[in-house]
Symmetry: C2
Subunit: 104 residues, 2 copies
DNA sequence: ATTATAAATCGAAAAAATTCGATATGTCAA
DNA sequence: TTGACATATCGAATTTTTTCGATTTATAAT
């Protein structure tokens, strides 16, 4: 866990929104997992296009954000066909909250 | 509480260190409060010069950091004579940790 | 094979953060 | 009241982040 990279990733409204949306994907992305057959359902995962649409930023920007958040450990991704699904890494977010009131 | 400003303030190693040092001031600043008579002791407060010395950055940089952290709410300051003492705002740090695992 | 679609990567312009030395301001001591 | 010291503020150079459109890569459908 690299706290500084995590805090940097959290220092942006759009990225913070994405993380928040992914907390309740079915609520914020109604047409969730439209491309996925049930057998390969990725729990809590949303594809880049759906996130981009909601985030109101360019495709490259959103892709970059998601990549940065994944590198920091906040998200994890699974590719299915031409789609990449991103979901939260709740365990790391929990660790960060813990770090915040022990180390910091 | 402005989470983005808080995360920005935390996105820097020196600032993170300062916050950490101020968690146990007597441990990290041995000659603590040398200029203060006991009557006006500021619990947990350390003056800018002592922080600067430990942080190994220029005076203006450290002053700027402390100001930014105070604006974000992470620190509070008290002036005594020509010295400004900074200490942690533990309540806000607690709130941020809480926000992290409820909102985010 | 060709075409269409999703996502990643590239390259660059603009905006913001970092960091410093110099200067200003406020306070204390002689 | 002058000089010394602590801190804040200013102005600027450098670095980093933001953000985009264009291109590339990977996969799917015809």
């Amino acid at each position: 866990m690299e706290p500084i990279d995590l805090f940097k990733a959290l220092s942006n409204e759009t990225r913070l929104n994405i993380l928040h949306w992914l907390k309740e994907p079915e609520k914020h992305f109604p047409k969730q997992q439209a491309h996925l057959p049930k057998e390969v359902s990725i729990k809590g995962g949303v594809c880049v296009g759906d996130i981009q649409e909601k985030a109101q930023a360019s495709q490259s920007t959103v892709s970059h954000y998601l990549n940065m958040m994944q590198k920091a450990g906040l998200l994890e991704s699974v590719r299915y066909g031409q789609w990449t699904y991103y979901r939260r890494n709740d365990e790391l977010i929990r660790q960060l909250a813990e770090y915040l009131h022990t180390e910091i």
